[in-house]
Each structure stands twice: as structure tokens, then as C-alpha cells.
Symmetry: C2
Subunit: 339 residues, 2 copies
Amino acid sequence: MGKIGKQTWRFEKPIYINATGTTVGPLESQGPLKDSFDKWFDKLHCDEKNWEAAERKLLQEAITICLNKGNQTTKNIDIFLAGDLLNQTVTSNFVAREIQIPFLGLFGACSTSMESLALGAQLIDSGYAQTALCGVSSHNGAAERQFRYPTEYGGPTVKTKTFTVTGAGVALLSQKTSHVIVKEAIIGKVVDWGIGDPNNMGTAMAPAAADTIYTFFQDTGYNPQDFDMIVTGDLSSVGSPILKQLLSEKKLDISKNHHDCGLMIYRPNQPVSAGGSGCACSAVVTYGHLVKQLTKGTIKRVLVVATGALLNPTVIMQKETIPCIAHGVVLEAAGGQNS
Amino acid sequence: MGKIGKQTWRFEKPIYINATGTTVGPLESQGPLKDSFDKWFDKLHCDEKNWEAAERKLLQEAITICLNKGNQTTKNIDIFLAGDLLNQTVTSNFVAREIQIPFLGLFGACSTSMESLALGAQLIDSGYAQTALCGVSSHNGAAERQFRYPTEYGGPTVKTKTFTVTGAGVALLSQKTSHVIVKEAIIGKVVDWGIGDPNNMGTAMAPAAADTIYTFFQDTGYNPQDFDMIVTGDLSSVGSPILKQLLSEKKLDISKNHHDCGLMIYRPNQPVSAGGSGCACSAVVTYGHLVKQLTKGTIKRVLVVATGALLNPTVIMQKETIPCIAHGVVLEAAGGQNS
């Protein structure tokens, strides 16, 4: 079927999520979705020497869990699509070295979760792969040091700031029948409304999410009520109301079924300012919580729109703004229509 | 046709390079391939305030030139696949903001040139795009500061070091008949033989190139003599002999037709140590020089293997080594067989 409308892909064959693997850090395992995750670490170092090695362990373990659940070995996987927040997507590179699967490195900041899932499904649909492993990771300590300040400085935070989720989420795709189908995907455009404050990424990303969601409904002819949930990646308590406002100005009402992974993953009283962010935020909520709900049949169809702030600290110091992007994927309970 | 062998893609439809755009900096315009490039800048700043803005200009201008030559506008392009060496692939992100084409951000260090070309051709072959724009960029000043030291420090260099090419290369793909066809592609695995010296990337990358080239010939049944040229991206004078040695140990002799973009782009007496590197190195040599030769028919079939050192300075300081990858693409003169 291929491309429909301006930016949307509809997969001709049923592409299944055969298994997922999710790992998280201490704060995420104290959140309301704890039981959705496969493994959690009590300490942010995950028994490694530094944050970067800890992030690699999170991704590596998520892959091991996913392959075990899917009854697969790395030898049978045709392609590994991955990315992360660290410079040169170094977590993915090192993990790709360990698993020895042909590797496509991706970067879309926190939107990489759905970018990798979309491309993995596309490669299977078109016969370029029979099995694909799609994954992302992020680590609070590594990301904070790289994008802002080392957490050890103990710098003050602001209310609009999001909190990078520590974790990794991985999905195994193939045409082998399972409970969850990857149905459509939408590839976003870069949107930048001039926000230059890295402590307010929810506001920066909301217009990108609005652009992708609006185009998705235009391209497909779906209505928001066709979805049990429309889930954004990490707009937080700051960006979520802006998204709903922007879409309502375009006569699109998603207020009844909108949720944000960054708000779902933590309890309101956890010390995460405006909510969670990072590649792993949308990935662990989708591959942990949402895939479980779709498998049970408690929800039938969900649109996940992962939002990415394409932030570069050097360029921010040069007084440039933050370009943002959002990629979306539709997941359905196998054989199911909307409830 | 899809996947053949372990890692190779063979495109079913003829996917054409309809146009290319190449821009370079001052040193590249003094090299032997000057006349192959579309535009060159006399100063490294390219009339911009900083290196990062200069790199954006190089990529933006290469796109404008490419679209003009291809008689296309951004509105008619279905997908933009791009990446670069700067953290968060920030050059591509900002340029994607300007051109407003659905954007897939990629990272494979200097291998991103062929990663983007391979994926662009794959998306067209499978009906997910009718037109694709594939591009990369790199800038010596921006890359040196980020990966080593600011060039303004005037630090000494070593003979094994490669020199980041300043430039950008872009290709426009579609099924519209033209002179050059994208025939096959191979997606690499990450290979790391334990080199941890960022001043010796030729040695680090040679095993990755050898792995991809060896697998390519296994997958396809081609012989090296089926190719007028087998071109690596940036192995330099240090890595090129290692590649040939590694392949000869596997009974694969590419010594007669191997060339390296990093050695082709500069004269031996230019101050570039072991040769050129960077995403733009393979891109401007391929989209400038090689596409022109294929168009004229002076060569009929070429395998371009872009090599990427997936180097992260933080992780190097943590005493880790350099994971490497190589992605390859076969280009053919339209209707042509090997000469």
C-alpha cells in the first residue's frame, strides 16, 4: 500500500510486534507503570562504572529480554534500527557491536522510538527484512551532563523542565502472528516556533506534535474517536495543554483520549518537574504498558506520537532555537476494531 | 526483490539518481576533483558567523543546486534522509526545518552518505516514496572542535590522522529515467578491532570496510572485476592498505580497482595528513566525480563503501574503543553492463 496522503505510511501486510523488552531505572520503577516493565535497576549506575555504560546495559538487557520472550536469537534478526540521545548515538553503536546484526543508526532525539518502529515495519512490509529489532535508550545522568549540567552539581531546576527517563525499550517485529499489529506510521517534518529554552522543551515540541497529528488525520481520514488513546511522547504538563489548544484551533479535538508518556510514567509527587522525557520515555510506556493493554484487548487501537527536541547545546549557545519533530505509529490489537 | 544473502538489498525497480548537488570548502576546491563540484567557498566560514552555520549553508546550497538541476521543488519531494557529524546531527535538523520535507534523521558517522542513499532507494523501490532527497555534510572547523580540539589552538597533527572534508553532497532519487541507477545496497554491521586512537581512524575502520565488502561479494555472487571501481569513503593512506590486506587474506583481491575518496579528493602535497574523511568526503566524490563518470559512460559500475568511525569523545576518555561500520551502494550507468 505504501504512502497515503502527504506523510503517512500504511503497511500492506500485517506486521506484528512479537515481543518487547523494557528496562528502567530507580525512579521509573517507583512510578505507576512499574509492573509493565520487564526489569528495573535500583541504582542509576546499574552496577556499571559510569552513566554511559549504564545506558548500554539498559539497552543490552532490554534486547536480551525481548529476544528471549520472542524465542529468537540475534542470528535470525535481519536488521537492528536504533538510536539514543547521547552524542553519536553511542549507546546504540556499542550495543550493535555486541549483537552483530546489520545496523541502521537513527537520530530523531526522543522521536527516535517511533522512527525506528516505523522504519522497521516498513522494511518488513516491503520484503527487505523478515525480522527487525527496533530500540532506543536514554539515561538521566548521561543526558543531563551532556545537554545541561552534571547531576552531581546539584543545580536547581525549573518547573517547565522535563526529566530524562532512564531506561530502554525494544520491539521485535515480523510477520509471525501475534497480538499487536503495526498498522500505519507518519513521518514528521521539522517544526520550530522559535523556542530557544532547553528548560522548556514541552512548549518547543507541542507544535511539531500538532503538525504530525493534524496531518495524520488529514492523510488517513480517521477521527480521534477511532482511537482508544492518542499518546504523545514527552510533552509533559507544559506541552500537553498547548498541543490540545493548537489542535482545537484546527477543529481537531483530542482532549478526550490524549495522554502523554511523560505524565503516565511518574506519579504527580515524584521529583520530575514537568514530567518525563527522553527516547526511553515513549519507548518503555509503549512497549511496556500500551503493548500489554493491546495484548489484553483492554484497548484496541492507539496512535503513539513520539516527540523529539533536536537540541544541540553548542548551537543553543549561538542563540539558535530548537527544531522539533514528531513521528507517529498506529498500533492495533490483532484482528480488533476500535472498541 | 528485496533482501539477498545476509545483508544486501537488490532494488527491483530501476531507481535513478536524477540530479546531485555538491558544495565544498577552500581546500577541496584546490584538489584534483575541483571541476566535479558544483560550488566552492574560498573561506571556511562560507560567509557565516560560525562553523556550524557554515556547514548548514553548505548543505542548504547543495540541496538548492540539486533541486534546480533536477527541475524539482521541495514540495514534490516525499522524504528527506540526512545526517552529519555534528552532535544531534544538528546541521540536518536545521536544514530539514527550512525545506519542510518529511525527515528521517540518520547517524552512521561518515557512512551516513551511503546509509541515506540506500534507504532512499529502498523507500522508492517499495512504493513508500516517489521522490527522495538524500544528503550529508561535514565541516572541518566544526568537526575538529567537537571531536578533537578547536583548529584555532593550532595543535600539532600526526601522520595517521585524517582531515575532515568541508562540504555537502546531495542526491535526488526517483523512478524517472536518468543516467545513473542505484542497483544494490549493503547494510553494515558494527566492527571493532580494539583501536581506541581517534587520530588513527583509517586503521579502526578498515576491518568494518573489509567485513562489508567481503559480505557483499558473498551475498551477490559478483566478482571484484565486475566493477570498474570499488571505492571506500575515508580509509586514507593508512587504512587502504590494511583493507586490501584483510581482503586478500580472504582470497578477495580488490587491489586493481580499489580507490579511496579520502585520497582522491586532495593532492598528495596538500596539508591533510593521511587523507580526507567526514560524511562529505564520500558524498562529494560520489555525487560529484563518480556520478559524472557514470553519466559520461567512462565507468559503468561502481561499488561505493562509505566507512564510519562511530567515535564519541566522552566514551574515548572512558578508555573505550571505536566501533566502526561501513554501508555500501552499487551505482550503474543506465542500461550499461560492466565495461
